[in-house]
């Protein structure tokens, strides 16, 4: 084994589902200082607070150029303060309610449930303002940026959902906004490009590398390195350097908290399984965090087969974090290949790497054809056109025979309007 590869901490709090085992049970100590082997590897419990070094077990950290270290420290300090400040929480809550339309509903899918023999519940993040869960994080970060005195937001975007959300928050708070988007995605998500421009943002097409999400992140980081004095990098997923993976998950925690209550009201209990698609992993982290302490609830993340960082990757470092990464034998990052621009990413958030390593969550992969099928399936049976990203979660539920008779909560992270053009081409 690679000497520098992180090892899973041997400690366990019993939070893993029965029968599951940590996939990498080596007791060797982490080569990195500061890894706290608390409950489930977190000092604050499963999906609690990371270590002061930003570690979730052996993953995470702050692997950024020295120029950005002070900015990360400032964000960490400001976020910690703001998150404990009732005024900040109150303002965010008001925006989430009056502006974004929270709480999002929980919908029971009667026809789909009957067809699959699985009781399917959808957490309807697609009904949020701007059409996806992304708005939760963006409103939080934009308020934080303003609190830190920043006047400009930069963001990366894959499918354009995070870009649209960031452009929206920038318009709302009167901030300047620039969104980096891979040239391939600009092509396949033209509608979202125009939406961002309508909202007053500048969209920069990125021609380097694979010309998708990974390269948009590179370009946004390059912008931030040069503009860090007045710019906040509004990262769109639970990835990047500490504190982003933690902070973004906290801003999305509302998904899981709401869903837990809603499930209890609707069904009188907790779901057997919670399912969400995983690219960087923000919507999954959000909904998982509401159920992580319920050890009998199974957590399943669904990756695209062509971008399965956990399924096909090994630990590596890119974009500021140590996590699972699709890479070659020299450490060059591989290009992901997915039908869905939002999941077209070779890495994954470090907390998911930890949830995988400890066995608290498991990660499955679905193929593009399965996703196309699921996209149609939900549209026809429930009258809900899902985002291609969210269709990954549906695809796994439709495929997985062991779910029969169970209650499954799916995070429907976004709506499919943006994908209709692309699907028209595919289904022609």
């Amino acid at each position: 084994m690679n000497e520098a590869e992180p090892h899973t901490t041997a400690e366990h709090d019993g939070a893993t589902p029965p029968g599951s085992k940590p996939s990498s049970p080596s007791p060797s100590p982490s080569p990195y200082p500061g890894t706290v082997a608390g409950e489930g590897g977190f000092p604050g419990g499963v999906m609690g607070t990371p270590t002061p070094e930003g570690r979730f077990g052996d993953f995470g950290g702050r692997f950024v150029p020295e120029s950005l270290v002070p900015a990360c420290e400032e964000i960490e300090e400001s976020f910690t303060e703001a998150w404990a400040d009732p005024d900040f929480r109150g303002e965010l809550h008001r925006l989430l309610t009056d502006y974004a339309g929270r709480p999002s509903p929980l919908t029971e899918c009667h026809r789909l449930s009957e067809q699959l023999g699985v009781r399917v519940l959808l957490k309807r993040e697609d009904l949020n303002h701007t059409g996806s869960h992304k708005i939760n994080n963006v409103l939080g970060q934009a308020l934080l940026a303003r609190r830190m005195g920043k006047t400009r937001l930069v963001a990366e975007t894959g499918a354009g959902q995070h870009g649209v959300a960031t452009a929206t928050a920038a318009a709302l708070l009167g901030m300047e906004c620039k969104v980096y988007m891979g040239a391939v995605d600009v092509e396949r998500q033209a509608l979202n490009v125009f939406r961002m421009q309508l909202l007053g943002a500048e969209v920069q097409s990125v021609e380097s590398g694979s010309r998708t999400l990974k390269d948009a992140v590179n370009e946004a980081m390059r912008d931030w390195v040069a503009t860090v004095d007045h710019t906040h990098y509004c990262l769109g997923s639970v990835m990047g350097p500490h504190p982003f993976p933690w902070m973004v998950r906290e801003f999305h925690r509302v998904i899981g908290d709401e869903a837990r209550e809603q499930c209890r009201v609707l069904t009188g209990g907790d779901p057997d399984v919670v399912v969400a698609c995983v690219g960087g992993g923000s919507n999954a982290a959000g909904i998982f965090s509401g159920f992580a302490d319920l050890t009998e609830v199974e957590l399943v993340g669904v990756e695209p087969a062509g971008g399965a960082a956990i399924g096909r990757g090994i630990p590596g470092v890119v974009h500021g974090m140590l996590s699972y990464l699709m890479q070659d034998e020299d450490g060059q990052v591989l290009e992901a290949e997915s039908i869905s621009a939002g999941l077209d990413y070779p890495g994954v958030g470090p907390e998911h790497a930890h949830l995988h390593a400890t066995g608290r969550a498991r990660y499955e992969a679905v193929s593009d054809p399965e996703v196309i099928e699921a996209f149609g399936l939900l549209s026809r049976t429930e009258g809900i056109i899902p985002a291609l990203e969210s269709a990954h979660a549906i695809a796994w539920v439709a495929r997985e025979k062991s779910l029969r008779g169970k209650t499954v909560l799916v995070n429907l992270s976004g709506r499919g309007d943006k994908d209709v053009d692309q699907m028209m081409e595919i289904l022609k």
Binding site: N2, S67, Q332
Partner: protein, 258 residues
């Protein structure tokens, strides 16, 4: 392969009153990149930085990105670049510049040993800041590899001393907030960060990022001990080959010696 110690060499030259010149060349860029390495050496480089291209170079601007892309497309790998370097016996210190995942993937101990075997005695990993660098620096030190740390204009005073103390070879003072690339004039931050580093360390302090012309280099070394010249050299290599590199490095040498 003889490893020439970086810090000892730079200190000795500095103490004799020389201003230090460290050109950067992307490894594997063109079939004759090692000729460019020789040309830069012959033209008076005090040490050389050799880039091992990485797929996602977040600290690099368009020119070095393009150079990295070209090299990777031509089949450059860490192994191949080090093997080609091992063939050269230049008599000056060599440092590789690459991103941390290349070292992480190989494993710290193996990567450090591979460097030494190729005659490379130092490494610069721009995405591995002081706070994350402990394990790598430990392994590097055990293998005899000098690990150069970068100090940025945003680095607070409180950490600058610790950073300069932990760095080996020299202190790489990042001349501006931004990625590698040429600028029409020297940023005020270049001499500011050099002065701040010089105030807390006796190690050689070299400014890199945004040092684009011999004139700018001469300005920088009024405060700093030397300069790292990357983009200008790489662009010259792409435009006019190894001979052009030799000419450009000679121009920088003359400006520093004047």
């Amino acid at each position: 392969m003889t490893v020439v110690a970086l810090e000892a060499t730079l200190r000795e030259r500095r103490d004799r009153g020389a201003k230090l010149l460290v050109p950067y060349i992307t490894g594997g860029l063109g079939t004759d990149w090692t000729d460019a390495v020789r040309a830069a050496t012959d033209a008076g480089a005090d040490a050389l930085e050799i880039g091992i291209p990485f797929s996602d170079p977040v600290m690099d601007g368009p020119v070095i990105q393009e150079a990295s892309d070209r090299a990777l497309k031509a089949g450059a790998t860490p192994h191949r670049i080090l093997a080609e370097l091992a063939e050269l016996d230049l008599g000056i210190p060599l440092a590789v510049m690459t991103y941390y995942n290349i070292a992480f993937r190989a494993g710290h101990e193996r990567f450090a040993a591979d460097l030494i075997r190729a005659g490379v005695g130092a490494a610069i990993l721009p995405d591995l800041p002081l706070c994350e660098s402990g394990p790598w620096r430990g392994a590097a030190s055990d293998a005899g590899v000098e690990s150069v740390l970068l100090a940025a204009p945003t680095t607070p005073d409180g950490r600058l001393g610790e950073l300069c103390e932990a760095s080996r070879g020299f202190v790489y003072a990042v001349g501006l907030l931004g990625v590698t690339g040429e600028r029409s004039s020297l940023a005020a931050s270049a001499t500011e960060i050099a002065a701040r580093c010089k105030a807390v360390t006796d190690r050689p302090v070299l400014v890199g990022v945004g040092v684009s012309s011999p004139g700018q280099a001469a300005e920088v070394v009024e405060v700093a001990d030397g300069v790292i010249v990357g983009t200008a050299v790489v662009r010259r290599l792409m435009e006019s080959g190894p001979r052009g590199v030799g000419e450009l490095v000679a121009e920088f040498r003359r400006a520093l010696d004047a």
